[in-house]
């Protein structure tokens, strides 16, 4: 039933926002505060999801926090469920037609936990909704002023940028930077044998110029006019280059497409794409699920 409802459903507006809550986290209150702000910004229904045992102590803690944060006026539903975190969250989000799921994420996963994978990785491909990973949630809300979005050449990108426009208007962002990554792998090898200095420079400039043109066409097609939008071409490996760029410009949010394939252990060992971002989050991350195949 919900499969049909989800198919073709646009990734925005955010009518239902889910928030995954963990009582072990010291930032539980901050996560809930962020979720409340988001729900208010987008006039969304809020769904609190806890995967774990429902105990009187947890209920009391949650009640206290919700009261402190003034949740009374909002339409809030809490779901308690036990089981595998990824599978349970996926099922709940699907059943409740969640459009945006908010999670707290560690900036950096260390040691074995990196290789074993995280809830975020499990959700990133399979979730039928967008994911907002908050690295440093704040009681007063994160100021989403400077947003960086990947302008990779992919059918999902237009939808991602449009979703970001909606998000940016909702949270009152000031600047959007659309970034495309130019991977020059193989160029050194191809040019090493028989190229003059001019040829090498021309080839590099030509490749960069083509990518810059494609980026500009993308921005012209879907960027909003109310917010300042800039275009940037960065050299480097996809995923890694945009991570570094987001760090460099002190972005408040990095926005990327949802991955096309499931990420597993092999992707963690031979890191690529989104794995570079997840292994060391430069800032908050929004993974947009465009719900297009």
């Amino acid at each position: 039933m919900n499969d049909d409802q989800l198919k073709g459903r646009p990734p925005y507006p955010f009518e239902t926002i889910g928030v995954a809550i963990a009582f072990s986290s010291s930032r539980l209150e901050a996560v809930l505060a962020e979720a409340k702000i988001m729900a208010e910004c987008f006039h969304a229904r809020l769904l609190l999801i806890h995967i774990g045992e429902q105990t009187p102590a947890k209920e009391a803690t949650l009640r206290d926090i919700l009261a402190r944060l003034g949740f009374d006026a909002l339409e809030v539903k809490t779901i308690w469920q036990q089981g595998n975190p990824v599978k349970s969250l996926l099922a709940i989000c699907k059943q409740n037609l969640v459009d945006l799921l908010i999670l707290r994420a560690k900036r950096r996963e260390k040691g074995l936990s990196y290789y074993l994978g995280s809830v975020v990785r499990g959700l990133s491909r399979a979730a039928k909704c967008s994911l907002l990973l908050l690295t440093e949630p704040e009681i007063n809300g994160t100021p989403f002023k400077r947003l960086v979005v990947s302008g990779v050449q992919h059918p999902k990108t237009i939808c991602t940028i449009k979703t970001l426009n909606y998000f940016a208007k909702g949270v009152g962002a000031q600047e959007i930077m659309v970034v495309t990554e130019s991977d020059q792998q193989g160029l050194a090898m191809a040019m090493a044998y028989d190229s003059t200095a001019n040829q090498s420079t021309n080839v590099k400039e030509q490749l960069s110029s083509e990518e810059a043109k494609q980026l500009h066409a993308l921005v012209c097609r879907c960027a909003p006019c109310e917010i300042k939008v800039s275009e940037e071409l960065v050299l480097g490996r996809p995923g890694f280059a945009i991570r570094q760029y987001a760090e460099k410009v002190n972005a408040d949010l990095l926005v990327i497409n949802s991955p096309d394939a499931k990420y597993g252990l092999i992707d963690r060992i031979f890191t690529h794409g989104m794995e570079y971002i997840l292994e060391n989050l430069p800032c908050n991350l929004l993974i947009v699920h465009s719900r297009v195949s």
């Binding site: 020059q184 792998q185 090898m189 040019m191 090493a192 044998y193």
Partner: protein
């Protein structure tokens, strides 16, 4: 310590400078008419070697290249040629990005497997079933069959990258599939070739010995590509920012390359495996700056590569050992196996037939890598001179025909269908 006399040194330096200067001159001439650089280098070797100079002016040949009369010279030059092939394999490894293969997904898996398995089967079957085509005794053709299968399945990443760049297909979907599949071909092909080199000549050839060799290769590769890469990812940023630039990173990279080459040679696997795997471990790191990669490529391809390819002409008489039948058979098997395997793979992966055929012909370019492979096999006694000559001819023909054939299959396609 034994050392070169001043006279030996003079002869050695003159020989090296002759090879470098003439090969550059020939390559630049060839470049003007669109021939691969490697062809110019091979031609210089043929002219300077026994085929031309040795035949028409033996005294001059013996003066410049006194291989038979001056042992010191012969050993010193052999050392340089060995170093050259190690460095060539190192830079080949630098461009193997394992994540690229994973990233490209289904089409690459199909095209990569197809372009590997079908030519391997074609080469192996031909050598195994009809060894007389290659003048090989039936009793000694198992290792040869393994080699021929591998030689048919390998690709030449540098040549392919250059062709795609010239045709402005480098960043297209077709281009990415060709590059990723070539990476896959080279990775598996060179690992398997190292295995063949290791087991060749082990007359006792016990299953245990072969098992140990295989285990060593797998263990070394896994160690370097998992643990080694992790360590390099930690060290490289520090080396590039805290040590002299680019001295620090060059010393680390080349030092590690030679260390790994020495290690694999010491455990009776060829030194090329160590260099190749070291190249992958370093080149796959996101922290390696593009400029450092460029310097290593320039250094190796403009100093060691000409020496190595000229040396091939010095060792083999291309006229005497040119066998039309063997050349024809090798060329036919190579083209049919590769084009068919890669095209069917790409088609099964979801590409249309035109693009799939372009992928097939793109991967068909063998170039310098095939010549290196053949040269190593010849040195190891795996193949005869006529077969080596046939492999060189096949490498050149496939490299030259690759671009026109890609153009033919993509000529009526819109840019959008290629992208």
């Amino acid at each position: 310590m034994a050392k070169l006399s001043p006279d030996d040194l003079v002869i050695l330096l003159v020989a090296i400078s002759t090879m470098l200067l003439l090969s550059r001159f020939a390559s630049e001439l060839g470049r003007k008419i669109g021939l691969p650089i490697v062809m110019g280098e091979l031609l210089v070797g043929i002219v300077l070697g026994p085929t031309v100079l040795g035949a028409f002016s033996p005294a001059t040949y013996d003066t410049i290249f006194p291989f038979t009369t001056n042992t010191h010279f012969a050993i010193a030059l052999d050392g340089i040629f060995s170093l050259a092939v190690i460095m060539l394999l190192f830079v080949a490894g630098l461009e193997i990005q394992l994540s690229q293969v994973i990233r490209q997904g289904r089409i690459t898996v199909y095209a990569g497997f197809g372009s590997m398995v079908v030519p391997f089967i074609c080469g192996f079957a031909a050598a195994w079933l009809v060894p007389h085509w290659f003048d090989i005794e039936r009793s000694e053709n198992f290792i040869f069959a393994l080699f021929l299968g591998t030689a048919m399945s390998i690709s030449a990443l540098p040549v392919i990258a250059r062709i795609l760049l010239d045709m402005k297909l480098f960043k297209t979907k077709v281009g990415m599939v060709i590059i990723s599949s070539a990476i896959f071909n080279d990775l598996v092909g060179w690992l398997f070739f190292s295995f063949i080199l290791s087991i060749a000549g082990k007359s006792e050839g016990t299953t245990t010995a072969i098992g140990y060799t295989l285990a060593y290769i797998v263990a070394f590769s896994v160690f370097m590509l998992v643990i080694g890469r992790l360590l390099l990812n930690r060290i490289l940023p520090w080396v590039q920012t805290s040590l002299s630039w680019p001295g620090g990173v060059l010393s680390l990279s080349l030092g590690l390359c030679l260390l790994c080459a020495a290690f694999t040679e010491s455990i009776h696997i060829h030194a090329i495996l160590g260099a190749f795997i070291a190249g992958i471990a370093i080149g796959d790191s996101v922290h390696l700056r593009e400029q450092a990669r460029e310097i290593m490529h320039q250094f190796v391809t403009n100093f060691f590569a000409p020496l190595f390819f000229v040396s091939i002409g010095l060792k083999v008489d291309f006229v005497q050992y040119f066998d039309g039948v063997i050349v024809g058979v090798v060329l036919l098997i190579a083209c049919i196996g590769k084009v068919l395997g890669a095209s069917i793979g790409a088609r099964l992966g979801g590409m249309n037939w035109h693009n799939a055929m372009a992928v097939g012909f793109g991967l068909n370019a063998r170039g310098a890598m095939e010549i290196i492979l053949g040269s190593l096999a010849f040195q190891a006694g795996l193949i005869t001179q006529p077969i080596f000559v046939a492999l060189v001819v096949m490498a050149l023909v496939t490299s030259i025909t690759s671009a026109p054939m890609i153009r033919f299959f993509l000529r009526e396609r819109s840019p959008a269908s290629v992208r």
